[in-house]
Symmetry: C2
């Protein structure tokens, strides 16, 4: 069982993002568990439905990170929007799948400011299957 | 060419969302063009890369809505987060594809408060291909 024992005090949305992708690369479930906010957070993994609530989100990450190797993960910020208490970043992720291959994922990450600092409240990821050529669903 | 001639003064993020899905259902590119903010907005259609900038986003919607029938579109709000100037809604969309069939899409919609009211600044949509069973990419 993963509990939110580890305390992180994070000063900016960029810092949450850096720590998030480091946890992802290192498959570190304890850091991952510490940077998500408690409560009604939500996570959409590629191709999946919405995982709602802190416990369910962390369970989903434990499943993903357990035994995985993500050291080759690379990211690039596509877009950012921010207000005083909320920040939204669109990030392009190059995720290793099998040796020699990778997939491009777009992730909308949402960070929120709490009394003790910034934490993650949403991650919505989707695989880029095709270029914008009109052949997509909507 | 679609221009942002139509002026909408929208009082709340919920109102933007209502107008957005009505425009989507009616395939009304003029209303769609009016509810997106000018500037560096971003849109991720299912399976696609990021479309960045107002003109490119509206062109992508023109392509999607032209000749389409979306009257059967149904939506349900999954989650919402808000600050003074930014709101993030996760919405489940049931989208008609061919007669008798539909697909579930999850959309993260981001709305921003401007001097003249709330407008859309991001739409990130992904198809739900499988339930959360651990068989997904990340």
């Amino acid at each position: 069982m993963v509990t939110r024992d580890k305390k992180l005090v994070i000063g900016t949305p960029d810092d949450v993002e850096t720590i998030y992708y480091e946890a992802f690369r290192r498959c570190d479930i304890n850091v991952m568990a510490a940077l998500w906010a408690p409560g009604d957070v939500v996570c959409v993994h590629p191709g999946s439905g919405a995982v709602v609530g802190y416990d369910a989100v962390i369970r989903s990450w434990r499943h993903i990170l357990d035994g995985s190797t993500m050291s080759g993960l690379r990211t690039a910020l596509v877009q950012r929007m921010a207000s005083d208490g909320l920040a939204v970043h669109l990030v392009a992720e190059q995720l290793p799948t099998s040796p020699g291959s990778e997939v491009t994922v777009l992730a909308t990450n949402v960070y929120r400011k709490f009394a003790e600092g910034w934490l993650m409240v949403e991650h919505h990821a989707s695989v880029v299957e095709a270029r914008q050529d009109g052949g997509t669903l909507q």
